[in-house]
């Protein structure tokens, strides 16, 4: 582990670290900017603070737009302040897909509580894709943890993929549902039930709220319990302060039951690169569909895999260009190998693709899968499909990580497997 800060003044670097650890507002804020913008020293800074992590209880708050997340967080922050806690908030708002700009308005509902001395609020623009959001946000959360804030509350933009990515950052994931969504509750329940440790029905002063609580409890009953923790449903009316203290207590109980710093478990890098490369090579050899499609494994490592295919006559659609399904199959296969590279069995639960350019007979398509985020239960991946310098498609996917590992026989393929087979093998 590299712990030295690159060049520059050692004393200044040490002073900077000490200021962050002491919770100095300006020092923390500037370090966040460095992480957010990918400054050269950001990675070394985070590495140097690794030993300071895991003290904060990180609570992720997510839910559809208009669910009342900001209002609820303002109430939670107020409650934390009353309890004498130093609390930090990371509020993520969407960037404009057109200009890249953003109006960060989450503070609008927090102006009263944010002025308190023990409160630190930072607004973050999602900057396009879920991956950038997740990686920068993880660093920001780490900085707030190292600075001694507890809890650290992360508010997300309320859209499918990011919800899941952010859930991977939190010790406790709270999903906020406004009352009366009716069929929408049905539509989102699968995703919500997978990631929620605590469910909140907001706007509890609405007449529909108690029916929504009942619906959610019914859905939870149909679901297999995960370990000893039963997902509670909390009714809140944040503008009146109702249910807020209860929510904070429930979240604390979850942290006790499931472990504070749980978010860090996924960050541990267990196997070396050779183990992962060997495992991927073995899995690729055992994959009948990979063989059927003549997909070639070019490279692999922990959380990554690169596959290639050459577009042939059998891949063409009625327009004479490569069928989207073939490109999807290539990207999805890289996704599958990358997500299974660590050892535990990973099963895809969601994937999406955007096609940017056509591919024609003879084109060699390369799909590179990279891990965006990973915790004990969920991981997200980004796959770029390219033809030379041209980006043909972008693919994103999420896996659920099972408790079981790939059979030892497969994982422990010896030395030969340490070398990734080239296109010819």
């Amino acid at each position: 582990m590299k712990r030295d800060l690159p060049r520059g003044d050692d004393a200044a670097a040490a002073a900077r670290l000490a200021a962050i650890r002491a919770g100095d507002r300006g020092a923390v804020a500037r370090a966040i900017t460095a992480v957010e913008n990918g400054h050269a020293d950001a990675a070394a800074l985070l590495a140097a603070l690794e030993g300071d992590l895991g003290r904060a209880h990180v609570v992720g708050i997510t839910g559809p737009p208009g669910a009342g997340k900001s209002t609820l967080i303002a109430a939670l922050v107020g409650e934390c302040t009353r309890r004498g806690r130093r609390v930090a908030v990371v509020a993520v708002d969407p960037s404009s897909p057109l200009s890249g700009g953003a109006v960060l308005g989450d503070r609008i509902r927090m102006s009263e509580v944010a002025a308190a001395e023990g409160v630190f609020v930072r607004s973050v623009a999602s900057r396009g894709h879920a991956g950038g959001l997740a990686s920068a946000t993880r660093g920001i959360v780490d900085l707030m943890d190292a600075a001694g804030f507890d809890p650290v509350i992360v508010e997300t933009v309320g859209a499918g993929q990011s919800e899941v990515a952010i859930a991977a950052l939190a010790d406790t994931s709270v999903v906020v549902t406004p009352p009366g969504l009716g069929d929408d509750v049905q539509a989102i329940k699968a995703g919500i039930l997978e990631i929620a440790d605590v469910l909140v029905v907001s706007k509890g002063d609405s007449p529909l709220a108690s029916a929504t609580v009942r619906d959610l409890k019914d859905m939870l009953r149909l679901r297999a319990r995960r370990g000893a923790w039963t997902v509670p449903v909390v009714l809140t009316a944040a503008t009146r302060g109702e249910g807020v203290a209860e929510l904070l207590d429930v979240a604390a109980r979850h942290a006790e039951a499931c472990g504070r710093g749980r978010r860090l478990a996924g960050a541990v890098q267990p196997p070396g690169p050779h183990d992962a490369a060997a495992r991927v090579a073995t899995l690729a050899r055992q994959d009948a569909f990979l063989r059927h499609c003549a997909l070639e494994l070019l490279d692999a490592g922990p959380g990554r895999a690169t596959l290639a295919m050459t577009v042939g006559a059998e891949h063409l659609n009625f327009n004479g260009t490569c069928h989207g399904g073939a490109i999807f199959a290539l990207a999805d296969s890289a996704f599958g190998l990358a997500s299974n590279s660590h050892g535990p069995v990973a099963a895809g639960i969601e994937a999406h693709v955007s096609y940017h350019a056509a591919a024609r007979p003879g084109d060699r398509l390369v799909a590179r899968a990279e891990e965006v985020s990973r915790n004990a239960r969920l991981a997200t991946y980004r796959i770029d499909v390219t033809r030379g310098d041209v980006r043909v498609a972008s693919f994103g996917g999420t896996v659920y990580i099972a408790a079981r590992r790939h059979a030892p026989r497969e994982a422990a393929t010896p030395a030969a497997g340490a070398r990734v087979p080239g296109p010819s093998s």
């Binding site: 460095a34 700009g101 960060l104 609020v121 930072r122 607004s123």
Partner: protein, 138 residues
């Protein structure tokens, strides 16, 4: 590293006319900037704390009813908090005889009614770039 200016658009004092600040905030967003927006009636201490936490490059103060007169106090408070390098602009209704006082207090520029939104965005972008390079020397 690409520069994406981070700007705080806010109002201090007792004036609640926020249409102008909303329009400017939306335009800066459309010009590719990240804009932290607050409701009106912010206290100076709260603005300073917010500017520090959000690590903004530029603060835009909208003033339509004499709130610009407390901007020099904001400048003082920013300096006291070690934020002297943050750029501050004022937009709205500022009588000519007050403009000099604001500029003397360290305000980078005053935009009067009728200013072009594109001019404001261009000025903020330049100001942010200067502030950013002063704070994060390459």
């Amino acid at each position: 590293m690409s520069l994406r200016p981070k700007v705080l658009v806010t109002k201090i004092g007792l004036d609640g006319h926020d249409r102008g600040s909303r329009i400017v905030a939306a335009h800066l967003r459309d010009a590719g900037m990240e804009v932290v927006y607050t409701p009106p009636w912010q206290e100076i201490a709260a603005v300073v704390k917010l500017a520090q936490e959000e690590d903004v490059d530029v603060i835009g103060i909208s003033s339509l009813a004499t709130d610009h007169l407390i901007v020099p106090r904001l400048m003082h408070a920013l300096r006291d908090a070690g934020l002297a390098e943050v750029g501050v602009i004022v937009g709205g209704i500022v009588p000519d005889e007050d403009e000099r006082a604001l500029l003397d207090a360290g305000v980078a520029r005053v935009f009067h009614p009728g200013s072009s939104l594109d001019d404001i965005a261009a000025f903020v972008r330049d100001l942010a770039a200067r502030v950013r390079s002063a704070r994060f020397p390459a």
